[in-house]
């Protein structure tokens, strides 16, 4: 007889995963909104008469407002992919804005700390990027690369006496990557623990169901066992019929014995815990109803 191996269903994205990704994207977008609003005024003052940077920042603010609205509208249904997409969409414009800002600052000739935005953003990505290495590492890599290109492209190494740059910026990038890897690793451990816990709970539920069914079946089975035995004594003329009943009983008996395999999985909370099969079955039915309700919403 051919046996089919049931394939494991794909892991469903949990509510917690979605919520974490949503909050990461929401925070990043909200911080961008606040930061860029502040920088519109700062750039307005620093680059008086040049509206390029304030305009770019205003456009970024508008984008952030739109993305925030999208996140709020989809706060219950947003997938992790959507949150990751929002995070990327809000981070990428910084590549242009930072490049324009560094060029503008270099042109002004003021004393300034170059690549500050890159450093802060790389740390921010490490702390807030939705769990998943690809998006976070990709963004940190892009900002690290841009910082090196800007440093050498604008010949900042010749104009500024900062022998530690752009290496210190790369160290910040590495720190951002470290933070991200730590978060992803912690998240994966939590995910594995959650899965193990869910499996253990599910197994215990099955064990209780087995036990309740076995308990409910054992007393009637015992009645049948005794009844058949009495009939064998009192109606020997029905021996053939009783043998078939005995065989059927034996099959039922072995079934209940097999159900006992789940016994060791049970963790009884107290001596008073009910072993009333009806109550256990009723509790299981209530749990199933609650779960069905939860899935409907």
């Amino acid at each position: 007889m051919a046996h089919t191996t049931p394939s494991a269903p794909p892991l469903r994205e949990t509510d917690e995963q979605r919520a974490r990704a949503w909050w990461g994207a929401f925070f990043a977008t909200a911080l961008t909104l606040l930061g860029e609003v502040a920088y519109i005024f700062i750039d307005w003052r620093v680059h008086a008469g040049d509206l390029t940077l304030p305009t770019l920042r205003a456009l970024h603010v508008l984008e952030a407002v739109g993305l925030l609205a999208l996140l709020v509208a989809r706060r219950r249904t947003a997938s992790s992919q959507l949150s990751a997409g929002v995070f990327t969409a809000v981070a990428l414009p910084y590549l242009i804005i930072f490049a324009v800002a560094e060029v503008a600052m270099a042109a002004l000739g003021h004393v300034w700390l170059p690549l500050t935005g890159h450093r802060l953003l790389m740390l921010g990505i490490g702390m807030l990027a939705p769990a998943g290495l690809k998006v976070g590492l990709g963004l940190i890599g892009a900002f690290a690369l841009e910082s090196v290109l800007l440093w050498y492209g604008l010949a900042l190494d010749e104009r500024l006496d900062m022998p530690w740059e752009p290496w210190i910026t790369l160290v910040w990038g590495g720190t951002g990557c470290g933070l991200l890897v730590f978060r992803v690793r912690t998240w994966r451990i939590e995910q594995r623990l959650q899965k193990a816990r869910a499996e253990a709970e599910s197994l215990e539920r099955v064990a209780r169901l087995f036990l309740a069914m076995r308990d409910a079946a054992n007393t009637p089975l015992q009645s049948l066992e005794v009844g058949v035995s009495l009939l064998q004594q009192r109606s020997p003329e029905n021996a053939a019929l009783l043998v078939t009943m005995e065989r059927a009983l034996s099959r039922l008996r072995s079934l209940t014995v097999r159900m006992a395999i789940a016994d060791p999985l049970l963790d009884w909370d107290s001596e008073e815990e009910s072993i009333d099969a009806e109550e256990v079955l009723r509790n299981l039915e209530e749990s199933l109803t609650r779960e069905l309700e939860r899935r409907r919403h």
């Binding site: 036990l211 089975l221 049948l224 035995s229 060791p264 009884w268 072993i275």
Partner: protein, 167 residues
């Protein structure tokens, strides 16, 4: 002898036992008035909350040689029959007598505290891991049988190994 066609109420078994002992069993209770090989043997107590099983167990044990069967569906019903119960030599106690009511373990302790010296056999259809069942297993002066128990094993409780019945 013909079997009584109508179901026998649980509490009636006590009367059957007493009547058998006193030789005053009514004619309609012929099933328990028959002569058995080995003669009168022992009185048994069956404490079981399931009406059908309780009736059948008494039936089987009496048919297997028990002198009489005192049956009760609950701890309280057992206590009410204290005098007859304490005269039994074998007690067959269901561990679980229902939710939030005294268990077979409580019945065991009551029996021992009141001077019951017979054998005690627990019947359980429940997980060995449950604290109540574990406690029953830990009692050195009691056996624990898991339902469904083979009828021969139940009959053996009132029979001697050589096929005769306990005196």
């Amino acid at each position: 002898m013909t079997r009584v066609s109508k179901p026998v109420p649980a509490m009636m078994w006590t009367n059957v036992g007493v009547a058998l002992k006193q030789g005053t069993l009514p004619g309609s209770w012929g099933l328990y008035d028959r002569q058995r090989p080995g003669g009168d043997v022992q009185r048994v107590l069956v404490l079981e909350d399931d009406d059908d099983l309780r009736t059948l167990l008494c039936d089987l044990l009496v048919a297997s040689g028990a002198q009489a069967c005192v049956s009760a569906a609950s701890f309280e019903a057992m206590v009410r029959q204290q005098e007859q119960v304490l005269q039994c030599e074998l007690a067959l106690l269901d561990v679980n007598l229902g939710a939030r009511v005294p268990s077979g373990l409580d019945a065991y302790h009551w029996l021992r505290e009141n001077g019951f010296e017979g054998r005690v056999v627990f019947l359980t259809g429940h997980a060995r891991s449950h604290p109540l069942v574990r406690q029953a297993h830990e009692l050195t002066q009691a056996r624990v049988l898991s339902k469904p128990v083979n009828a021969k094993e139940l009959m053996a409780l009132v029979r001697k190994p050589d096929g005769s019945h306990d005196a």
